[in-house]
Symmetry: C2
């Protein structure tokens, strides 16, 4: 079937044809300095003519690098993982690396074995972890024991020595809250995310900070504990909207829950945004597909993944002055039609309230 598989040219073929040693071919291919320009061109010409491509397994076995980056994820959101994957895969290709993807369960009893097997077999030059795996101590332990450089995307509390990439969840949540406040809303419901994810707490903090800055009190009765799923958004909506002094706006910690709120509101016959404003977080694909489209925050997912690969491939790319091994990427508030000024009330800037 693959009769030509055996005829693939090796570095020896190239060296012979170019009249140089294999070491020189290696130098040219790895862009090492100190090769006569004429020699370089000659080698490159033969490489092109023979369509020579170095074999990764040989490079990996002989050298110190595997040219492999591992990405570990445990599903939750297809949109999030998909974005990370695309950003990472593209950057890997640009850098001459390849992305090996493994899906592992966060609660699997043999999770350490799974991770260890992957790392020991592949010897990746680096690993990228997404939530909630990036906060899993067992996984982190295995990786650190193996000496594999690791980048955490949007982690919670973590060893400050580790490389991280994230966005500013607190500030983003503040901005969303401020938007609602500026639209005249005072009774704003909040739906928290899953307890075991770091972003949940950060977004809640942002909400509280913005409320307090505007001189508004956070009514505990208007805070619901969700878990980032659509159904928990529905449940949260029923809880919040069933109150005596019900909120005129609801800020859900992610889009899936906001969609649940939207669905519940429509079933309850509430006009959105006329009678209820709704805001989410993530800017998931569905957020712009529903009606009315959701006001939300765009997470720089693909960019975070690109940066993660950069940190692994070009160690110099890691960190900035503030947090040595950490990078914080900019987000963007995305106002859409699910939020509007409070019906029949004047627009009241928050500054005037102090």
């Amino acid at each position: 079937m693959s009769s030509r598989a055996s005829s693939a040219p090796t570095i020896i073929d190239v060296a012979r044809e170019a009249g140089v040693s294999i070491k020189t071919v290696s130098r040219v291919l790895n862009r090492e300095a100190g090769v006569h320009e004429q020699t370089r061109e000659q080698v490159l010409a033969v490489v092109a003519q023979l369509k020579y491509r170095p074999k990764l397994s040989a490079r990996s076995l002989a050298g110190a690098r595997s040219f492999l980056i591992g990405l570990l994820y445990y599903d939750p959101s297809a949109a999030f993982v998909g974005g990370v994957q695309k950003g990472a895969a593209v950057r890997c290709r640009e850098a001459g690396y390849h992305l090996v993807v493994e899906s592992i369960e966060n609660e699997a009893p043999d999770i350490e074995t799974q991770v260890d097997r992957m790392v020991a077999a592949l010897r990746p030059d680096g690993m990228i972890l997404t939530p909630p795996l990036c906060d899993n101590p067992q996984v982190l332990k295995v990786l650190s024991d193996s000496g594999t450089p690791t980048v955490l995307i949007s982690p919670g509390d973590h060893d400050p020595a580790l490389l991280t990439v994230r966005m500013d969840d607190v500030h983003a949540a503040q901005e969303v809250t401020q938007l609602l406040i500026e639209l005249g809303h005072e009774r704003i419901g909040f739906i928290r995310g899953a307890r075991d994810q770091a972003a949940s707490e950060l977004r809640y903090q942002g909400f509280k900070l913005a409320m307090e800055a505007a001189g508004l009190s956070v009514d505990e009765a208007l805070v619901y504990q969700g878990d980032f799923t659509f159904p928990s958004g529905v449940a949260g909506a029923h809880h919040l909207l069933g109150q005596k002094g019900r909120p005129t706006a609801v800020f859900a910690s992610n889009d899936d829950m906001a969609l649940g709120v939207l669905s519940a509101a429509q079933r309850l016959g509430l006009q959105v945004p006329g009678e209820l404003s709704i805001a989410g977080f993530d800017d998931s694909p569905a957020a712009s597909l529903v009606w009315p489209p959701l006001t939300t925050v765009r997470q720089p997912i693909e960019e975070m993944a690109r940066v993660a690969v950069d940190m692994l491939v070009t160690p110099a790319a890691g960190g900035d002055e503030a947090t040595p091994g950490g990078r914080v990427l900019p987000h963007r508030l995305v106002p859409r039609d699910s939020t509007a000024a409070l019906a029949s009330r004047a627009h009241r800037p928050t500054a005037a309230r102090r």
Copy 2:
């Protein structure tokens, strides 16, 4: 940083400790027959004690297999690719393989170089292609020239010698159409998918077959050419619902477009499903998140990916009697609330019309 990296045990360490040759260790690890049970257990004990894991690059360089499966995709739908990825990654791990994912642009001018580079560097034991890449002649050419076994997921017309996995788009579309017909709908609008994707034509054929089987004519004015995107669903809805004898139901070739129809209908003030029934295709995550939830067809995405890996890893797994290299996986009609019986008309089974 990784001081212990150099101390990773090799097959030689295991052989020495177990008092056997490296060949015997290799036999045990590869489950080759003909090893004394006692020897086998002794080797396994040492392997466990030393936490020995064979290095993939060495196995790959020395042997005929790389234990790598490549997955090539060009985004379109995050949900589809995400499902394929998960199914493939899980099955790979079970089989001791690893999944290398590459995202390439279907229209990139250097697409052949990109694919060739990946295949030549990795020497994967097999490749999996998703639409639209599985119908890209240039990509298929490079892979066939390299002798890399390839499985196409949901391809269009293809070389019958190639391995394929798909669902029955024609039949599934027939079922959706029948459901609408059984609900009493006669004027049914249809929105076609992207011209360059094979599934578009297949689903349209299914629609026509069901209409004809029920003795209903397909009104060309009620067929709109979409492109699988949300906006084209909105445009299709405006086109179809603006007609004199407008349809009482719309069947969109995928969920994204169906969501567009839903959005447009709600803006036009039409009750769904009271005044308009809507059906989609895919059972994307958003389909069950909107209100009303969408009637659709569940594609067996993860299963298709698992089977694809199986065909590559266990050659015997490929094909069934009907189509030698092809496997057709079962789908499932998912009736939800976006479709309902035609208002104020009796339920009329299609059989009675003939």
